[in-house]
Amino acid sequence: MTLSLEASSVTVAYPNGHTALRDASFKLGPGTIAALVGVNGSGKSTLFKALMGFVKPVSGQIRIAGGTVEQARKQKLVAYVPQSEEVDWTFPVSVWDVVMMGRYGHMGFLRIASAEDKRIVSESLARVGMSDFKERQIGELSGGQKKRVFLARALAQSGQIILLDEPFTGVDVTTEESIISLLRDLRNEGRIMLVSTHNLGSVPEFCDHVVLVNRTVLASGPLEEVFTEQNLSRAFGGVLRQFHFEHSTIQDHDGKTVKLLTDDERPLVFGKDGHLEYKDRSGREELVREREKMEGRE
């Protein structure tokens, strides 16, 4: 059995009549890190819910490793790393307890941990570099540490398909890099990671596949083919913030057209000598002239 994740013409509608996802199709093979990219309300979380069997498609089907979602659930194939906002961080459980929850599906009726379960939990904690924190209550961790704990739980579950919901919000750069390198290791083991993210700039850094959604799957395929300016503007409409270098106050740019896109925030750009640069040159001709003058004097 080769690992795969496939949705064909999936339509999901909620009881109140709202169709969150229509005719969505994509396919992921083994050893993939796929970015799930789209605006809020584009159906990213609905897609996750469908993959976990929380909502049933009204038409179309989802196949996981050749079987149904229900079969995948029984085999604990799909692991979920929740968004930080979804977790009750005041809950009285330790890091160790949370990672052990990944093993529950593998335990007997009374959920008594075997030596094997404990070994796997220790290993998973070591893998994400959280062994020293195993006695901490989960609320006492930093944003990045919290993410790593839930990633360790997915490992302990031995989930072959890992769904990560916004793994980089509230995470510092060092942790982001360590999470990315862990995801690469997992990819090399043949697992499939589907990462929902707002962080467009990080996508080319660690994903090899992109699924663009906007109430349906607009495009799905290898990063270079799908993560194009044209596709992104289809996915985001006018939502993206843009910074065109050739329209900006930046002088002496290399003459090529460089455009910077971000989802959430406007970029802050500093030019040569630490000058603050503005998005539009028009209306600031005075400033540009002044800087040119200073440049000439030097």
Partner: protein, 272 residues
């Protein structure tokens, strides 16, 4: 009067034992209720059992059966109204439980029963009858056994239902199980403190324990300890105060909570 005077009376000994048993059941359950954020649901269901009790009298069924059924009707109606309208859940609860409680009161005045309304509303642990005692014990033992057997699944359900589902647990079944256990705990503690104050038994021990620890297993133990202590204290004090035993138990629960709260304040101050 001697400090040991209450122990000369068999009904006092019995009341102490029953209140301790009820205290254990409620304490264990309260940990889940508090962490799940279902305190208001506990309040709603405990009021809503009244019409069920009256109807059970009418049909000659055990009270527990009626209470259980009414609790379920209440929970179902709340879920149904909430999912088919835009009204917020706490508002729906307010409407449903007051409506059912009022229905119970009206039914009670229309139907001749040999029960005393006061005993149902405020408990009657000192004058508990043989049949009622058996019901209390059965409801307590069954509820406690189910919770302890499934304590990890229930904890996971409270903490992270998405993960519970992902590893193959049925979250729908766990949801209804938790509701059923809530009804069971209410039936068990109804005789001790009455349906008006049951919610204190179902919320306070868990909160008290939560203040003192941030580990779940320790929280269970501390909740049981605080609840048994408060129940016994309440029964014991009511002998001297000659007051409502149920109210004394609940008052003792509040006092234990207050002590835990003050202790925690001091601990937090030392940490800082």
């Amino acid at each position: 009067m001697s400090w040991l005077a209450p122990f000369q009376y068999p009904f006092m000994i019995e009341a102490l034992l029953v209140s301790a048993l009820v205290g254990i059941v409620c304490a264990v359950f309260s940990c889940y209720l508090v962490l799940k954020g279902w305190s208001l649901m506990g309040d709603a269901i405990s009021h809503a059992v009244l019409p069920g009790i009256v109807l059970a009298y009418l049909c000659g069924l055990p009270l527990a059966v009626g209470a259980f059924a009414a609790g379920f009707v209440c929970a179902m109606s709340i879920g149904w109204i909430k999912s088919s309208t835009r009204i917020k859940e706490d508002t729906v609860m307010g409407i449903v439980f007051t409506g059912m409680f009022a229905l119970g009161l009206v039914l009670f005045t229309k139907v001749q029963t040999d029960a005393h309304l006061n005993h149902i509303l405020f408990g009657n642990i000192l004058g508990i009858e043989r049949d009622d005692l058996i019901q209390v014990i059965v409801a307590s033992v069954v509820t406690l056994a189910v919770i302890l057997l499934l304590r990890k699944d229930l904890m996971l359900f409270c903490f992270d239902p998405a993960h519970a589902r992902a590893i193959g647990l049925s979250t729908v079944a766990l949801h209804y199980l938790l509701l059923a256990l809530l009804s069971g705990a209410i039936v068990a503690s109804m005789q001790a403190v009455g349906i008006l104050l049951v919610v204190a038994m179902l919320v306070t021990p868990g909160c008290t324990a939560r203040l003192l620890t941030d580990r779940f297993d320790r929280m269970l133990l501390l909740a049981v300890a605080s609840s048994v202590l408060a129940s016994s204290l309440g029964v014991y004090a009511s002998f001297f105060l000659n007051g409502s035993t149920g109210a004394c138990i609940v008052l003792a629960q509040s006092l234990v909570f207050l002590v835990a709260f003050l202790l925690r304040g001091r601990r937090a101050a030392q940490k800082a």
